[in-house]
């Protein structure tokens, strides 16, 4: 419809625009130093570190059990994933064998968290593009999931529920019934979002063909998660490198096909998240029906004191694959804990894919990458 002007003919003198740390659509405390000629953006330098709490220095003074609430605070929109990823890493270090019930509950919790996180990503993306109503609808549905979480863990956002070696509590009595009710309520809602936002002409105009990320650029920048799958690469850790019990469930990995524009544009990244929600519902239904019973705290070691050594474990969160590199030398405190944050790498690709677009497109591309600053700045 409208191809962007080729940049060379603009040549007007450049202006530095400071989309500062406090801006309505930078998804957190992120500062974008944008060099523009008029509306066209020629270079973006994301400046981060405003939310840096030196999580890794904290971990060098906290015991393994005490680190779990801190991992929640890294990616506060997908706290369950962080706890799960950390617990898998520590269990790999201790090589503990978990009872099946714990694995099932963890998968159920993670898939609910994935839906909740994608709901916020979709709502916020709609808000960045200008539609306000989808944001309130997605948040209304997310509240239902948070109520389920509150029922199980007591907290709505930062759960401290998945501990290395097991879980903090077992499921409450009729949790299964409530979650199945929620899934029945939620399935038709996705069709409603589709009608309101996905197939809306203006939305397509604003996001199709915008910020196209080719395959090689994505891999070279270490982009992972829905943003990578939007570029057409069917890489999902739960499918390619199955951890925990994901190999028991059949679900497929949605990939961007460039329906509304070229493959790898913002619309694809957005639509992959919508399809992923459907897949998560499929996994949830299977998991909820097959959940065995047993004691969730049986494999929990009293005192976590892993042997000397290193481990690097990967986990598929809502934003990409988070990696925990833990070095321990026998004490109950890790000597070094490094968290490879997916949004950190996803954000680094911003300059590459948004040069030549207009300012309102930078907001769209940033929204489609779905970054969370707590996880980037750690």
């Amino acid at each position: 419809m409208y191809k962007i002007l080729d940049k060379s003919i603009i040549g007007a003198d450049e202006m530095v625009l400071n989309m500062g740390p406090q801006h309505p659509s930078t998804h957190g405390v992120l500062r974008l130093k944008i060099i523009t000629d008029g509306e066209i953006v020629s270079h973006i330098e994301p400046i981060i570190g405003y939310l840096h709490r030196c999580f890794e220095k904290h971990c060098e003074n906290l015991s393994y059990e005490q680190i779990v609430p801190f991992t929640d605070r890294c990616d506060y929109l997908a706290a369950m994933h962080m706890g799960h990823a950390y617990s898998i890493a520590v269990e790999k270090l201790l090589d503990i064998e978990l009872p099946q019930r714990v694995e099932y509950i963890r998968v159920i919790m993670s898939e609910f968290q994935r839906i909740a996180s994608h709901l916020i990503a979709i709502g916020a993306f709609g808000l960045d593009v200008g539609a306000i109503t989808p944001f309130t609808w997605t948040l209304r549905d997310r509240e239902r999931i948070l109520d389920l979480f509150e029922q199980v863990t007591g907290a709505r956002l930062l759960y401290n529920y998945i501990w290395p070696g097991g879980l903090a509590h077992d499921l409450p009595p009729n949790f299964i019934r409530n979650s199945i009710d929620f899934l029945d309520y939620f399935e038709p809602q996705i069709i409603e979002y589709d009608n309101l936002l996905t197939t809306n002409k203006i939305f397509i105009e604003r996001s199709a063909d915008v910020g196209v990320m080719p395959k090689e650029v994505a891999i070279n920048y270490g982009v992972t998660g829905p943003s990578l799958r939007g570029s057409g690469i069917p890489f999902d850790l739960r499918k390619n490198e199955p951890y925990s019990i994901y190999d028991k469930f059949d679900f497929d990995v949605p990939v961007g096909e460039g329906k509304m524009g070229t493959i790898g544009d913002s619309w694809d990244r957005y639509y992959v998240r919508v399809l992923e929600m459907k897949e998560s519902i499929k996994i949830l239904r299977q998991a909820l029906s097959q959940i065995p019973d047993g004691d969730v705290q049986s494999a929990m070691p009293k005192k976590i004191r892993p042997k000397k050594g290193e481990v690097y474990s990967r986990y598929e969160t809502a934003r990409g694959d988070v990696g925990f590199y833990i070095r321990s030398d026998g004490k109950n405190i890790p000597t070094r804990l490094k968290m490879r944050s997916p949004a950190y790498c996803n954000l680094s690709v911003l300059n590459e894919i948004s040069a030549g677009w207009m300012i309102s497109d930078v907001i769209t591309i940033l929204g489609s990458l779905d970054i969370v600053l707590g996880e980037i700045d750690r």
Binding site: D128, V129, T133, T136, R140, R206, M358, S360
Partner: protein, 367 residues
């Protein structure tokens, strides 16, 4: 179509002060009347907008603030006094002026926009004989006055010395000026058929024949072109690019707060009222009751629904419905990008408007 000003002039002619003083006094009365119309309209429209947006987003909107103890309905329509509370808050809020902003221009900008809207009301007939001053060049005057607001917007954007406002002002300038052409063309269409610029005559023509919207398929399309470009004229979604919340923080209104921001708000809703009244007068048969066009043999005595008093209500109902549609747009659509906005205006509306002009004139020849 006697205008209020002449009516008052000969009413008060018995006072023997010299006529120019009397004229000023006589003009003051409708002036205050118009200002009241604008403020009341803003109050009602803001409350309606908050409630409509709330229900569309599965929430309840303002429920707490009451008026003299009456809190409004318990179930859904509470919070009647919310807009009054907002108005008082805006008036008492500190009016921050950034230090290296151009203070005089910054103070001037909101009043230019306000005057742009205020002056347009003079030529708008609220009912058969309720018009402040009856111009025989009605539509032309309204078109001219409604483009005064642009200057105020650009002034506001430039004088607040902030990159975001500058962006907002540039975008507003491009948008409003380029959308005046489709508006002009579609109004021109009506003038060709009705043969006169005077709004009264246009409504008169519609009462003799049919409403313009039903006159011919081309005027039907012209109504939609007019309506959508008028939404762009008043910076409403999906064309609210000048004050895009998610990109430009608040566009050209970023540095304003308190009283000056209230003036912007007031004139935005006043503009909405103007354009919806003009749309209903020109296309939807002004103060003619819809029963007339049906003319399915309603007995004669029912025609009394058409008198000057009731005419006012019919006009207001049509205008309110159009304002509701504007709000409906706001809570459904995302925002267009600046270049898509320009594409829509120059590549879609203007060609269609010109085609309409051509085909309607042929239509006139045939029928």
């Amino acid at each position: 179509m006697t205008s209020i000003v002449d009516y008052l002039l000969n009413l008060l002619s018995f006072i023997e002060i010299d006529t120019s003083l009397l004229l000023i006094f006589v003009i003051l009365i409708p002036g205050i009347g118009l200002f009241l119309v604008m403020t009341v309209n803003a109050m009602v429209a803001v409350y309606m907008e908050r409630k409509v947006s709330a229900f569309m987003q599965d929430r309840l909107g303002p429920m707490e603030v009451g008026l003299l103890g009456f809190k409004g309905g318990k179930k859904f329509w509470g919070g009647i006094g919310q807009t009054i509370a907002d108005a008082i808050k805006l008036l008492t809020k500190e009016d921050i002026v950034p230090d290296n902003a151009d203070k005089k221009l910054m103070l001037l900008a909101p009043f230019i926009i306000f005057i742009g809207a205020f002056v347009t009301f003079v030529a708008i007939p609220f009912s058969e004989n309720l018009v402040v001053s009856d111009f025989n060049i009605g539509i032309f005057y309204i078109m001219a006055m409604s483009s005064v607001g642009v200057i105020g917007i650009i002034l506001a954007g430039w004088s607040s010395n902030n990159k975001w406002s500058l962006y907002g002002a540039m975008r507003a300038a491009a948008q409003i000026i380029s959308y005046e052409i489709p508006i002009g063309l579609s109004l021109l269409l009506v003038v060709i058929v009705a043969g006169s610029l005077n709004l009264g005559d246009i409504v008169q023509w519609q009462s003799n024949h049919r409403w313009f919207i039903l006159h011919s398929p081309f005027t039907f399309i012209a109504f939609f072109i007019y309506f959508i470009s008028v939404v762009a004229e008043t910076n409403r979604t999906p064309f609210d690019i000048p004050e895009a919340e998610s990109e430009l923080v608040a566009g050209w209104m970023t540095e304003y707060s308190g009283f000056k921001w209230a003036i912007f708000f007031l004139s935005e809703y006043a503009n909405m009222l103007i354009v919806s009244i003009v749309a209903s007068i020109v296309f939807l048969g002004g103060w003619l009751s819809p029963l007339a066009i049906l003319n399915i043999g309603i007995p004669e005595k029912w025609m009394f629904l058409d008198g000057p008093i009731l005419g006012f209500f019919w006009l207001m109902i049509k205008a309110m419905f159009l304002i509701f549609v504007m709000m409906w747009f706001r809570w459904t659509f995302p925002r267009l990008r600046v270049d898509q906005l320009m594409y829509l205006c120059w590549k879609v509306f203007i060609p269609f408007a010109l085609a309409n002009l051509f085909f309607v004139s042929i239509w006139e020849l045939i029928f």
